[in-house]
Structures are given as C-alpha cells and as structure tokens.
Symmetry: C2
C-alpha cells in the first residue's frame, strides 16, 4: 500500500499544569495518580468551545509527549520486563507521540480546568479535550494481553528514566 | 498566557477501512456500530510495533477527521438540538481534528487489524493505536452533562450532513 504523504500539523490549544516536572517518579497512568490535582489552561481563542463541558465528571485529554524524542517500535514497558510492540503499550516514544489520559474534572474557571488523577508532565501541550462518555468509552469483557498479570500492579508503579531522550 | 507557536506535524501510520464511504447514514459512535466490521492497515515500516497487541480484545484508535475542514467552537451535536461547546462533544470539526474510537480487535494478519464496532469513514488516516485498559480508561460514577438525556438514544442515531464541509 502506498503511504500517505500528508503531514497533519496540529497546534496546541492549551497547556497542562501538574506537580510533575520530571519523568522520574511520576505515576504512569491516572489510575496511579488518584488525588493528584492539576489544571489545564485553554488559550483564550478556544475558550468558548468549553461551554457545557462542566456537566461532565470525566474528560479525555489528548496531548503531545513533547519531552520524548523519536520513537521505538519495541519498548520494555514500566510494568513489564519483556520487550513489547509499542502499539500494545502506552509508552510515549510512539511514531505520533500523542498521549491520552482520562481525568476527573472538578470545575472550570476562566478557561482553566481544574482536574484530578493527573499522570501528565507539567507544561505538556494540549491538543484536544473530549467528554468521557461510558457508552462510547467503556467496554465489557475486556482482555488486556500482556497486562493480565502486571496490570494489577499499575497503581504502585512509578516511572523511571527509561523513556528519557 | 503566551500561546505556543510550535506545530506538531503528525504523519499517518496506516489507514482505516470501513463500509462507510459517506458521512450521511453512518453511526455516530462505536456503540451505534455494533457488529460493523472494518480493518486497519498499518504501513509496513510500523508493523513491528504491533507485536503483543493481539492479546487485547479492545483497542483505541486515534485518527484524523480528514473529511472535515476548519472548525467551529460551537456545534449542534447529532444527539441534541442545542448549540454546545465543541469540547463537550465528539464532533469532528475541532481545532485539532483528531478522532478517538474504542473498537473490538478480532485478529491481526500481515499488518492488518480486523476490527468490529467501527464508526469511522472509509480511508481515514490512522495516527496511533493504543491498547484499551479498563484500569486506565474506564471510570465509575460518571456524569455526562448534556448527554444525560440524549445519550440513551445514541444507538439509534445516525449521522446527517451537518458536519459536511
């Protein structure tokens, strides 16, 4: 199959603020970041798109892993000791370094979203906000492959330096 | 706050194939697309990143809404009659037109993912694949704002032309 040549230039619409200024020691997923508070500042020109969002308890943040450089198709995930295909992991060094986190939304004030359960580095560029809707986003009868054994320990895991660039 | 000037040029890693060649009449979310089969072709140079993914029953696809042009900060969603802030909806005409769908993964053969519950237009450029992990991606005690009333009817809703560009 011919590869598409198009590049899609995405532009940050805001920035995410969290207590995590370094990769080392941060939680690896929101489930390991319970109670960690942060905020999302949406740039003025996009703030009118936030109306009606305050009725949602959870939101999906899409953002750029801007502290990662390049990518690897095989990675050893934090929760594992074996090399895995990058698309079977949530590791940041992906071909398109887009991160996804579901976080709790507490309130919105002057274009700032106050959020909780944040597993994101401070200063991360925000690409999109979507409402979390269980009917779309939750699934039953889920199998989680290599995570079957290690997934139960996510809450205790913290990042180390392995994905530093 | 100063706006970031950086643009992030994301490049398709594959393409999504579905029965939906037109926006009109397609399901608006995977929950309305139960049983609809499709496939994802991952370009050869990225296929080694697919290893270990076949253990997962559900995956998250991130893709480009490439049939939408421009964006609106206020939209009238398919499931509603009132204008809403675009970030409280899943509408395609977003500042960064990135789509997100959770789909069921049946099998992977020669770099082609066979998937089900597909609500995506045929030919859509793929940006990323992530494993769906309930511990990260499912939430309890969720409130869905303006969707509280209309969300229950998603399964019956089909797209119309309103987001055509």
């Amino acid at each position: 199959m011919m590869q598409l040549e198009t590049n899609y230039p995405f532009k940050p619409i805001g920035r995410i603020h969290t207590p995590f200024t370094e990769k080392k020691g941060m939680p690896i997923q929101p489930s390991g970041a319970e109670g960690v508070a942060g905020s999302v500042t949406v740039f003025a020109e996009y703030q009118s798109g936030l109306s009606d969002l305050d009725g949602f308890s959870h939101i999906i943040l899409l953002y750029v892993f801007n502290r990662s450089e390049g990518f690897s198709l095989k990675v050893v995930p934090f929760m594992d000791t074996e090399e895995r295909g990058v698309f079977s992991t949530r590791a940041p060094r992906r071909p398109n370094p887009i991160g996804l986190s579901v976080v709790r939304l507490h309130r919105i004030e002057d274009g700032v979203l106050h959020i909780e359960n944040v597993d994101i580095l401070d200063g991360t560029p925000l690409l999109d906000i979507k409402p979390f809707v269980p009917e779309f986003d939750s699934q039953a009868d889920v199998k989680v492959g290599w995570l079957e054994k290690s997934g139960r320990t996510v809450r205790r895991h913290r990042s180390d330096d392995r994905f530093s660039s």
